[in-house]
Symmetry: C2
């Protein structure tokens, strides 16, 4: 009957994702999260948890919180024609950026391979003088 029965405390989420509760509250301050309340205490739904994961993934890719907020907005497309168009544009920009990051990663992986080779070589030259 209740599709989202489980809830989370701020401490649980902090432990799960290895961040501080301060960070989670800060994200709420920035409008990235909007948990429920039981009295004073924050209560996080599974959806809130997913949102948090989204933000942290964005961080790993070098996104700012403002950019992550845009990503979150993409999950619930609303507004008039103009706003939806703007959203589509943002989606395409993100795709462009991700494509570029893929290139960058590929390049960097090759360079790491080379760096490892040089490193191993340098070690062998130390062993056999």
């Amino acid at each position: 009957m209740n599709p989202t029965r489980r809830t989370y405390s701020i401490g649980e989420l902090a432990r799960e994702f290895d961040i501080t509760t301060r960070t989670i509250r800060f994200y709420e301050d920035q409008g990235l999260l909007a948990p429920g309340r039981r009295g004073q205490t924050r209560v996080y739904s599974p959806a809130d948890r997913v949102t948090l994961m989204l933000v942290l993934r964005g961080k790993r890719l070098g996104f700012s919180l403002a950019e992550s907020r845009q990503l979150i907005e993409m999950y619930q497309p609303e507004g008039n024609e103009k706003q939806l168009q703007a959203l589509l544009d943002k989606i395409r920009q993100r795709r462009q950026q991700l494509a570029r990051q893929l290139e960058d990663i590929a390049t960097m992986q090759r360079e790491l391979d080379e760096a490892e080779s040089r490193c191993v070589n340098a070690m062998q030259e130390l062993e056999t003088p």
Copy 2:
């Protein structure tokens, strides 16, 4: 006879990469660049230019300048056994991180596809009430 004849001024590099000269000097301050000098004036070699590209690529992937500095150090492996081992460890860590970023990007690309679908749907529902 001279393998690296060409040089660059700070302004040239700034224009090419669409950054400010302040940024380039800041990177030097942080030990990421070490250009030559002709009198007072900084003179950048092709190698300096490559280093700069490396830093900027790192930035696009969300690396800090400290991390980029480590990447640069990987280009000239030196030191004793212990230092080289440490370098190898760092290389492996970076590879791990890049692998994770690849996953993140793949996931995010799928989500962007879905977001675009929802967006297009929302627009069509506006057109046909």
